[in-house]
């Protein structure tokens, strides 16, 4: 039986700034000095806030959380590509993306102190809340993007998830919907190599995660997720395409989770120190600093001042967050529905009588 080829597909890999900080001049995206410094500063903020939060968690001052160390470029550079009217849909490890979108550190800390107040996105910002069930936030970004099409808005959605999420049904259903409706959405997969203890190669037999987009009728691209310039360029390009009616894109950022899955996890059970060390050489912040220095935009004096400023900013945010008094029990009831049902009013009254002061 003769056969004929009915399709041929390829996936490209993009790196602009290599591990040592050498930039590919032809691919270098056009960013202003302010944008470049914002990118660097936000990555440093995220790295330092992360470290502070781990120590606070160990002291019992924060709940369990998912550290971001190692993924700063994937998050900050992609979030920076968003316009004000665009929407961002995080998973649960996106503190750096939140910082890039203007969420204050106090809000992040409040969330991790067990208060929904930390999720209260300021009016005018289209940042959705932390989504914990893996991949479950992906359809929201697609639906929000479909609404943009219906409302004829010139905007797009960006949704974050990890390598593990690509095994979930919601990932596949969402990409399928996005392809069918040509929704203006960018799927940003942070392939950080580990879904708790399960390595990337046990998650799927696919050679890349990016290629999964091809099955749904749109492009997938792999980028060096520790290269802020490549992440920015790929995301900006995908967002522009989406806003021009070009439909969705899947971006697979190759990165690494340098810390534990969450503060409740012990990665020494499943991965070696050598592996972690090898990734330290590919650190996203280190190479970006070299890049800034080579462009004569950064020196050690500025570095020392930034470190000092960020430390002070974190200290202030911690003080502010810890000064917020515990909320009254009413807060537990007030947002169940627009109006409290008679039963909820009764239960609230009971809770008030037993409020632990």
């Amino acid at each position: 039986m003769p056969t004929k080829e009915v399709g041929r597909y390829s996936v490209t890999y993009l790196q602009i700034l290599d591990e040592s900080g050498i930039v590919d001049k032809e691919l270098e995206p056009v960013l202003t000095k302010d944008q470049l410094l914002f990118l660097y500063k936000t990555m440093v903020q995220a790295r330092k806030l992360d470290a502070k939060m781990i120590s606070m968690q160990r002291q019992g001052r924060l709940g369990t959380f998912a550290p971001v160390k190692g993924q700063e470029a994937s998050q900050v550079a992609s979030a920076m590509a968003l316009d004000q009217d665009d929407w961002m849909f995080p998973a649960f490890r996106e503190a750096a993306a939140y910082l890039a979108r203007g969420t204050d550190m106090k809000g992040i800390l409040l969330y991790n102190r067990g208060s929904e107040e930390g999720n209260r996105t300021p009016q005018g910002q289209n940042n959705f809340m932390v989504a914990i069930p893996v991949a479950s936030q992906i359809p929201h970004a697609v639906g929000c993007a479909m609404a943009m099409t219906i409302k004829k808005e010139q905007a797009a959605c960006l949704v974050y998830f990890g390598d593990g999420a690509t095994s979930e049904g919601d990932f596949h259903e969402s990409l399928n919907f996005a392809g069918v409706y040509k929704a203006p959405v960018v799927f940003l997969c942070q392939n950080n190599q580990w879904a708790i203890s399960v390595p990337r190669q046990r998650q799927t037999a696919s050679a890349t995660l990016a290629q999964k987009a091809i099955a749904y009728g749109f492009a997938g691209i792999q980028v060096d997720g520790n290269d802020a310039l490549a992440v920015y360029a790929a995301t900006k390009n995908a967002l522009d395409k989406a806003k021009q009616g070009g439909g969705p894109t899947l971006i697979e950022c190759i990165t690494y989770r340098m810390e534990m899955h969450t503060t409740a996890d012990d990665p020494s059970k499943y991965r070696s120190d050598e592996e972690v060390k090898a990734w330290e050489a590919k650190d996203p912040i280190k190479r970006f600093k070299v890049y800034l220095q080579q462009k004569n935009l950064w020196d050690e004096r500025q570095e020392a001042k930034l470190q000092q400023d960020v430390d002070a900013e974190i200290e202030k945010a911690v003080q502010d967050a810890e000064a917020v008094p515990k909320r009254r029990v009413d807060e537990m009831f007030n947002y169940t529905f627009a109006e409290l049902s008679p039963r909820l009013q009764e239960e609230r009254d009971t809770a008030r009588r037993y409020q632990i002061l």
Partner: protein, 325 residues
């Protein structure tokens, strides 16, 4: 005013509300060209076009998940799940997100969507097409659950559900879809969510039901009344948050209560109603509360479905037992 079936009344509600409010959209499997497998969305595609009447790929979780994404961005989606037996695939989206978005964001984002699904038995359907699982949704804080029992109620309640600021699960008893016709006003009207309908007042016993079981219950009540008893019949209309006050006030008057539902007895809504009556007016009770319900078995293939569903005879015997106590 015209005499309409429940399917026609629901169709009219969607048509009129979509004309009134251009943010209302319909999405689901076969809701466009086919007009829905029960024809509830018939004609909407021609009137409103593909952007507002979306034939979706076959994926319940994404139907509800994308509806959530639309709802948070100013669109009012009415998602159809073809049969409630397939809605479990979408339940994680309802439980983890739709029900929690207002709370999680402190009211910054809300999720005003409607998920419609035909539910319940009695139409000789295949497996997974006959269950009554309203209690699952009622057990999920942040979701409202509405079940109409007549064409008139269906139209008014669906319009209320679409206008509601929170997510509403709207279960349509398919046994009633074409079984009865009644006068339905031509214009838009609403029926409040959370309020029961006292179908008839009575003095000797309160009977509470909803959905398709209302019809059987009415037959039983009529027979009992012919024997000289006076029954207060309540159609709950909203399963969550349900109208406790209407039931309590009624039981205080009659001293007796029978609850009829198609769902399994174990943790069905009857259990909750019974518990609330015990908590709030046990001293008014002259007899134990009786629940006439589906059995705690897998819903049978249709050869035996009428053995599973509460029959008028079973309901009548339940009421008789309570009256005789």
């Amino acid at each position: 005013m015209a005499k309409l079936t429940m399917v026609q009344a629901l169709n009219q509600a969607l048509l009129q509300e979509m004309k009134r409010d251009n943010t209302v959209v319909v999405l689901g499997e076969d809701v466009g060209k086919d007009g829905g497998v029960f024809r509830v969305t018939e004609g909407l595609l021609n009137t409103f076009g593909e952007q507002r009447v979306m034939d979706t790929p076959l994926a319940e979780s994404a139907i509800v998940g994308t509806a959530i994404g639309m709802a948070i961005n100013g669109i009012k989606p009415v998602a159809e799940i073809q049969f409630s037996g397939f809605a479990y695939y979408a339940y994680p989206q309802l439980e983890a997100h739709a029900s929690r978005i207002r709370n999680r964001s402190r009211g910054r984002f809300t999720c005003p969507l409607v998920v419609r699904a035909p539910y319940g038995g009695g139409i000789r359907a295949l497996e997974h097409h006959s269950e009554s699982k309203e209690a699952i949704y009622a057990h999920t804080p942040g979701l409202k659950v509405v079940i109409p029992s007549t064409p008139y109620d269906a139209k008014g309640l669906l319009i209320s559900a679409i206008r509601d600021p929170d997510p509403v699960i709207f279960l349509e008893p398919k046994r009633v879809y074409r079984a009865i016709k009644e006068e339905v006003p031509d214009e838009l009207y609403t029926i409040p969510i959370g309020k029961a309908n006292i179908i008839k007042e009575g003095a000797d016993c309160t009977v509470v039901s909803w959905g398709a079981a209302m019809k059987t219950t009415k037959e039983a009540v009529e027979e009992i009344e012919q024997e000289g008893k006076s029954i207060e019949l309540i159609d709950l209309r909203t399963i969550s948050p349900f109208d406790e006050e209407a039931i309590i006030e009624s039981v205080k008057k009659t001293g007796r209560l029978v609850i009829v539902h198609e769902a399994h007895k174990m943790l069905g809504l009857g259990a909750e109603i019974s518990a609330i009556v015990n908590e709030k007016c046990i001293l008014s009770l002259e007899a134990p509360i009786i629940r006439v319900t589906g059995y705690d078995v897998v819903f049978p293939f249709f050869e035996l479905e009428n053995e599973y569903l509460p029959s008028a005879k079973r309901v009548k015997d339940g009421i008789t037992e309570v009256l005789a106590y």
